[in-house]
């Protein structure tokens, strides 16, 4: 009996392109498909012993970040990110969890955001209208997507990607987000593997 080659599998098996995803198991005991938000920023493999002292975030920074969060996740029929103190959350996460390089990019990003706002609409981010805020952040979102597609793996992400991810994480994992935007049950008590779903129903946390 001849031994088949290792790569020879079923006839229908075509040459699959190998991908190299840096995708870690998060909470779940099994691997899931798909990337997780913030995985690049939070699933770093490095240990950060000590950050050099960084300039303090100011109240004005917090107010600006509140405005960013409120634009990324606005109030709809349920509260938005402004209801969860999103600016303070971002500052806390950047201070406690980001590497020095990431921290620096984020912090400088606040200045860049205001500069972009001034150039386009003639005022700081907090001073422009809600429509102008949305316009600007849509533009920055496009910019960060392009930047992130091209950047080297070990380079920090675009500052607006950081702000967007922190807005999403801070909002959905807050009590308001987890219980009003999505649906969290502390003790489900049972598992049902096939229940009806209709478009618009909230997802589980």
């Amino acid at each position: 009996m001849s031994t088949p080659k290792t790569t020879e599998t079923h006839p229908m098996n075509k040459a699959f392109p190998m991908i190299n995803r840096r995708e870690a198991v998060y909470r779940l005991a099994v691997l899931m498909g798909g990337a997780m938000i913030g995985s690049e920023l939070f699933l770093r493999g490095d240990s950060v012993p000590d950050k050099n002292p960084m300039p303090a975030f100011t109240d004005a920074d917090r107010v600006t970040l509140d405005a960013v969060g409120a634009t990324v996740i606005p109030k709809t029929d349920i509260p938005g990110a402004e209801a969860v103190d999103i600016g303070a959350f971002m500052i806390m996460m950047v201070t406690d969890c980001y590497s020095e390089k990431q921290h620096q990019v984020f912090q400088e990003g606040i200045g860049k955001l205001n500069a972009a706002s001034a150039a386009k609409f003639g005022g700081a981010f907090t001073a422009i209208t809600p429509e102008q805020k949305t316009d600007l952040l849509n533009e920055l979102d496009k910019e960060q997507r392009e930047y992130n597609g091209k950047k080297k793996k070990d380079e920090p992400a675009h500052y607006f990607r950081m702000m967007k991810e922190l807005s999403v994480i801070g909002y959905f994992s807050s009590e308001i987000g987890a219980t009003q935007a999505v649906h969290y049950i502390e003790v489900p008590g049972a598992f049902h593997g096939d229940v009806p779903y209709k478009q618009g129903d909230r997802a589980w946390y």
């Binding site: 699959f16 691997l31 997780m36 012993p49 000590d50 801070g170 994992s173 987890a178 049972a190």
Partner: protein, 559 residues
């Protein structure tokens, strides 16, 4: 001095140590169980188990402080903010990597039984015969038939939920009712079954979570927070299961903060007389005497204790006469598989957080299949709808993005293979006396890596996964190989293997150290090969079997 003498000493309080304590105390022995780390009380010790997501300060992301305290677990994604308290402080207990080794540890009462993945499978008869048939490593001195009654025993007590499949490569056992595959997994399972004419099967994982109340313990509440400790006692751990049984006998003494530094060996009787303990808090040294010693410190630390027990008689450590002590390190290599997108089922969803997934038992190199490598692998995975954490760049910002994330995404299937590693004498650990831990003790120096057999296997592990997902009709199917270093599977094995012959093995068929027959090793160190299934159930069964023998032998005066 009287309180310092016991019938038996059990070193370690994890999965196998807990079982040793339970079995030995229930058979009437006065047992001292030694644990190097702190105590974690059942229920009250699980400090984060009942917290809501928003109560985690960094919403379960890792702070730089936690990263600094636990650098080794950063090599994979199992540690997060809420379970970080169970992971060893790596700087206190360093190790040396001559070749990369991922050593993920939990030093506390219960050990990794609090942190484990809970997947529980019997070995099959081929696993126990493979070394002999292939001339690899050394032959197991036991066969499936020797273990079968002890698998029964372990499952009956621990509570393993699972389905009866009648598959020779994955023997059925005393199962609690199975958990449920979800609607998409059922569909994929049916397609795989048809496509491969039932030669491959996707089943619900067999897991040490109680699908119904069992032995006075609550059934699983489907919270999927097992790694925080279960306040319902719904998965098997030392705390939920074996420790209360041992305590109930009145025969157990548990001593936390007790680092066993050596086994005391009497060269006249050729037996151990007890162990030396370094108190991790006071740094005082104590000696405890016993008639027998069970080493259950986890595979690598069990070998460390034996090596550190060197005497004039055995300069390389107790149990070193064969030259195999510390060699033949095995694990399961993984982080290779495939994922894909499911079309449809958008009107279907799930309720509850099932801490389990599907399992695809081994199909390679069995029943006439023959590859250019030996042994095989199984898959673990699940089908899920994306949640709010899904990374969808095209969603942009604003109300539309917010609303989209309040609803589930499409279904995806992801799976990873767990492959067998064959024993290799060159994969080894040694004592590194140049590097000391926090307590001044020599540390382990690891040198191990996977070889050609495993590397060839990984090609199939990715391709077969992708092929099955395509056969099941998934789209955008992508195989992946995220790389692997030994230890990462957290299934360390083999450093004190069992065998027929004291010249080529450390332990005999009853897990006795050939060089000191009142010392038993029943954790992962005893393994002569690794199978591809998760090993903990085998450690439970092996420990119960050895304890039964040990008590019999004690009564007969044989040891």
């Amino acid at each position: 001095m009287t309180e310092q003498s016991f019938d038996a000493i059990v070193v370690g309080s994890g999965i196998s140590g807990g079982w040793a304590a339970k079995e030995l105390t229930e058979k009437g022995l006065k047992v001292l169980m030694l644990e190097r780390g702190e105590n974690v009380e059942h229920i009250t010790g699980y400090v984060n188990a009942l917290k809501a997501p928003w109560e985690a300060p960094h919403r379960d992301r890792l702070s730089n402080k936690t990263r600094e305290e636990h650098p080794i677990p950063l090599r994979d994604g199992f540690m997060h903010e809420s379970n970080a308290n169970y992971w060893v402080k790596d700087h206190d207990s360093p190790y040396v990597e001559t070749r990369p080794f991922n050593w993920f540890r939990g030093y506390h009462v219960g050990g990794r039984s609090l942190m484990w993945g809970r997947q529980s499978y019997r070995w099959n008869k081929f696993d126990y015969e493979a070394n002999l048939n292939e001339g690899v490593g050394t032959d197991w001195p036991i066969r499936y038939e020797d273990m079968a009654p002890w698998y029964d025993h372990a499952e009956s007590w621990a509570g393993i939920s699972g389905s009866h499949e009648g598959m020779e490569q994955l023997p059925d056992g005393n199962f609690l009712p199975p958990m449920e595959l979800n609607v998409v997994e059922k569909d994929v399972a049916a397609r795989i079954k048809t496509y491969y004419k039932d030669s491959r099967r996707m089943i619900i994982g067999r897991v040490a979570n109680l699908s119904v109340a069992h032995n006075g313990r609550n059934n699983c509440q489907y919270r999927n927070k097992c790694d925080l400790g279960c306040p319902f006692g719904a998965y098997f751990s030392t705390q939920s299961s074996t420790l209360p049984a041992a305590v109930k006998t009145g025969n157990l003494t548990l001593r936390p903060f007790s680092i066993v530094t050596k086994i005391v060996y009497d060269k006249d009787t050729k037996k151990a007389t007890g162990v030396e303990v370094l108190d991790a808090e006071t740094r005082q040294t104590y000696t405890y005497n016993s008639k027998i010693v069970f080493l259950n410190a986890s595979a690598m630390n069990t070998a460390w204790v034996l090596m550190n027990s060197a005497t004039d008689v055995w300069p390389d450590g107790l149990g070193s006469s064969s030259g195999e002590l510390g060699h033949n390190i095995m694990d399961h290599h993984f982080r290779v598989g495939a994922s894909g997108d499911v079309e449809g089922f958008l009107d279907r969803y799930i309720f509850g957080r099932r801490a389990n997934g599907f399992y695809i038992p081994r199909f390679r190199n069995l029943f006439g299949d023959k590859r250019d490598y030996t042994r095989g692998f199984g898959y673990q995975g699940s089908a899920d709808r994306g949640g709010w954490q899904r990374d969808v760049a095209e969603l942009g910002i604003g109300a539309a993005m917010k609303t989209a994330l309040t609803q589930p995404g499409h279904w995806k299937v992801g799976m990873t293979a767990f492959g067998e590693i064959i024993p290799n004498h060159d994969n080894r650990m040694t004592l590194d006396k140049n590097v000391k831990d926090k307590w001044g003790l020599p540390v382990i120096n690891f040198s191990a890596e996977i070889g050609p057999n495993e590397k060839k296997m990984r090609v199939d592990m990715a391709n077969d996964a992708a092929e099955m997902l395509e056969a099941a009709g998934l789209k955008n199917v992508k195989p992946y190989d995220n790389g692997y270093a030994v230890g990462q599977g957290i299934h360390e094995m083999g450093t004190a293997r069992m065998g027929h012959d004291p010249k080529s093995s450390v332990l005999n068929k009853h897990n006795q150290v050939w060089d000191a027959t009142n010392v038993f090793v029943t954790d992962g160190a005893c393994m002569a090969s690794s199978s591809c299934v998760n090993p903990s159930l085998t450690y439970m069964a092996m420990t119960a079997r050895a304890a039964d023998f040990a008590v019999d032998a004690l009564k007969k005066g044989d040891i």
